[in-house]
């Protein structure tokens, strides 16, 4: 059933009920994105349909590509020509986009990629999942590279983070991924933004390929054949990654001030874990939630603040355990890190998390893993 989407506007704020997918599209439009190429795949189709309408209204460019491979290459071309460009897909389609993402990372071209994750591996299913964490945060395609990965947990953040993603992409000339899931994409929540929200300031793009009028010709490439040339380029990318790690890592914390038990979760899993924290508090457990907002760079410092003393951790994910490897690495003591995960479209329930938390806290069950 389609809910009525009445827009209200008062005190300079636009407010309406939106799906996450459509909020993401509007966030991109409001960020000055005027090029979108996509290919149908569930559960992100509302975003592609929305862009088909909105791009026309904004004199932007919408292309339904022949494949995800083509879609990301169209974004590659649009970005190289200087446009703010975006593509979106869901897990199997994102696997195909890794080709173009690697090329763009190599050529240092900005773009935004939205992954509304579904269950895998293979064709999997169309239910929400978080099983593309490794792919998103560890490179994904071939070669040494990173992209910035933002993990929204509300429809509002689908809008806000997409808007911000264009600013980050332009600031660092890097692909930025919005890592959402089928739940966030499909569900409806109130969305609110300022009626006169402005696109992030667009930096000069002296590298844009616009024709060599009054200047030397330019090329934009990821091929560096001469001896040592690619290594130098890789070092330059590493320095950029280091700078991003230093400046952009971000986490949100909930009731962690006095916590000695910290649940780590992002996106949909974090929403649920928040309620589990409240339930654990009612049982007298000093529980808190650490929710990474950026998955890469991972908010290591925020996590490290909780390592001292006896604090135990529980990582909750909609996967068989991917982010937990980062948590274990940073905490440095695997025995202190518990894990609860549901895969294949399963969604953790509040009470399941509470139950697992109590097992972790029980000395005999410390570090319990599912």
């Amino acid at each position: 059933m389609k809910a009525k989407k009445e827009r209200t506007q008062e005190k300079g704020k636009i407010r309406y009920l939106s799906t996450g997918n459509e909020a993401c599209g509007e966030g991109a439009i409001r960020a000055g994105c005027r090029f979108y190429a996509g290919y149908p795949i569930t559960p992100q189709n509302e975003l592609t349909a929305y862009m088909s309408k909105r791009m026309e209204e904004e004199n932007g460019i919408f292309i339904q590509a022949e494949s995800e491979l083509a879609a990301i290459s169209m974004v590659h071309g649009a970005s190289a020509a200087g446009a703010r460009a975006m593509t979106s897909s869901s897990s199997p389609g994102i696997s195909l986009k890794q080709e173009g993402i690697s090329y763009m990372a190599g050529a240092e071209l900005p773009c935004v990629i939205v992954n509304v994750m579904r269950g895998g591996p293979g064709l999997g299913n169309i239910s929400p999942a978080q099983s593309d964490y490794f792919q998103a945060t560890k490179g994904g395609g071939h070669g040494d590279y990173k992209m910035i990965v933002l993990a929204p947990e509300t429809v509002q953040e689908m809008f806000d983070f997409t808007h911000k993603a264009f600013s980050l992409a332009d600031q660092y000339n890097i692909p930025v991924m919005i890592l959402a899931d089928g739940m966030l994409g499909q569900m409806m929540e109130p969305l609110e933004f300022s009626a006169d929200i402005q696109p992030p300031a667009e930096p000069e793009k002296p590298w844009a390929l616009t024709g060599a009028r009054g200047r030397e010709p330019l090329s934009k490439k990821s091929l560096f054949l001469g001896p040592g040339v690619l290594e130098k380029h890789n070092d330059k990318l590493r320095e950029k990654h280091d700078e991003i790690s230093l400046r952009e890592a971000c986490a949100e914390e909930y009731r962690t001030q006095d916590a000695n038990f910290v649940i780590c979760a992002y996106g949909t899993a974090a929403r649920i874990a928040r309620a589990s924290v409240d339930k654990l508090r009612e049982k007298g457990v000093k529980a808190g939630l650490l929710r990474p907002v950026t998955l890469w760079p991972f908010p290591e410092e925020a996590l490290k603040k909780h390592i001292s003393g006896e604090t135990a951790f529980l990582t909750v994910e909609m996967s068989l355990g991917q982010m937990v490897e980062d948590i274990e690495r940073i905490v440095g003591d695997r025995k202190r890190v518990g894990f609860y995960g549901r895969a294949g479209g399963g969604i953790p329930e509040e009470d399941e998390i509470v139950e697992r938390a109590l097992m972790v806290l029980d000395k005999s069950g410390k570090g319990a893993r599912k």
């Binding site: 022949e66 390929l209 054949l225």
Partner: protein, 244 residues
């Protein structure tokens, strides 16, 4: 050019990496002459393929970018849609265009993108060591068709232009060759017509250029040109395939 042979402004003075007798040098040359003649050098953005011509941007004195293998027309689509008043062309080999990029070329054509495509068909993968291409002739030996290309095992040479001709969005298709000076001049004229088609905003056009690969055909440059005349044009007839 009058009377004096000089380098077109659209070419750099860099020595190419192409093998002796390779056709790319001739094709670059006539293409760059046309770009000079039309006065479009400063508004041209080229898309180089993966393959022997991957380094073409070192030899071209205008903006250029490289695409992932076969995605060349998709990437060019992105550029042209953002910059509709610029001249955008792809320069692709037979592996790039007729194998891994078959979907991209057909759909760019079917959308009627305002692009020029220069398709250099030499019947082998040159850059990777002379493997069989979709365009390799029946009976031709390559490093991956060691017992020659046989229809029952390796299939038939792919005639891309004839396939593209079926698409309403495609307005101009011509197959040319460079095996003689007269054919080189026809190639030059076809390239010019393709650019003019784009400048007039008429839609998608493509010139397939039959070109020699002496290295992986295992014959000297002169003999390679002869082979085009004797054998290759029997499979790939020259001339205008479509002109709307």
């Amino acid at each position: 050019m009058a009377g004096k042979f000089s380098r077109p402004e659209s070419m750099t003075d860099k020595t190419t990496h192409y093998c002796p007798g390779c056709g790319h040098g001739i094709i670059h040359r006539v293409m760059c002459e046309v770009i000079d003649e039309l006065g479009i050098r400063e508004k041209t953005v080229a898309v180089a393929p993966v393959g022997c011509a991957v380094l073409a941007y070192d030899y071209w004195n205008f903006d250029a970018i490289e695409a992932a293998h076969g995605r060349t027309p998709a990437l060019a689509t992105g550029i042209k849609r953002v910059l509709p008043d610029r001249v955008v062309f792809t320069y692709q080999g037979d592996g790039d265009l007729a194998a891994i990029g078959t979907a991209e070329i057909i759909h760019a054509g079917n959308r009627g993108e305002d692009l020029s495509v220069f398709f250099v068909n030499n019947g082998v993968y040159g850059m990777t060591g002379g493997q069989m291409a979709p365009t390799t002739l029946i009976g031709q030996t390559t490093s991956t068709s060691q017992f020659t290309r046989r229809p029952d095992k390796e299939g038939y040479p792919l005639k891309i232009l004839e396939m593209m001709a079926l698409l309403p969005g495609v307005v101009y298709l011509e197959r040319t060759s460079i095996h003689s000076p007269a054919e080189v001049l026809k190639t030059r004229a076809a390239i010019k017509r393709s650019f003019e088609t784009q400048l007039a905003g008429k839609g998608f056009s493509m010139v397939e250029i039959l070109s020699p690969c002496p290295t992986y055909w295992g014959m000297d440059p002169a003999r390679s040109m002869e082979r085009i005349r004797e054998k290759v044009i029997q499979q790939y007839p020259l001339g205008v395939v479509k002109n709307n």
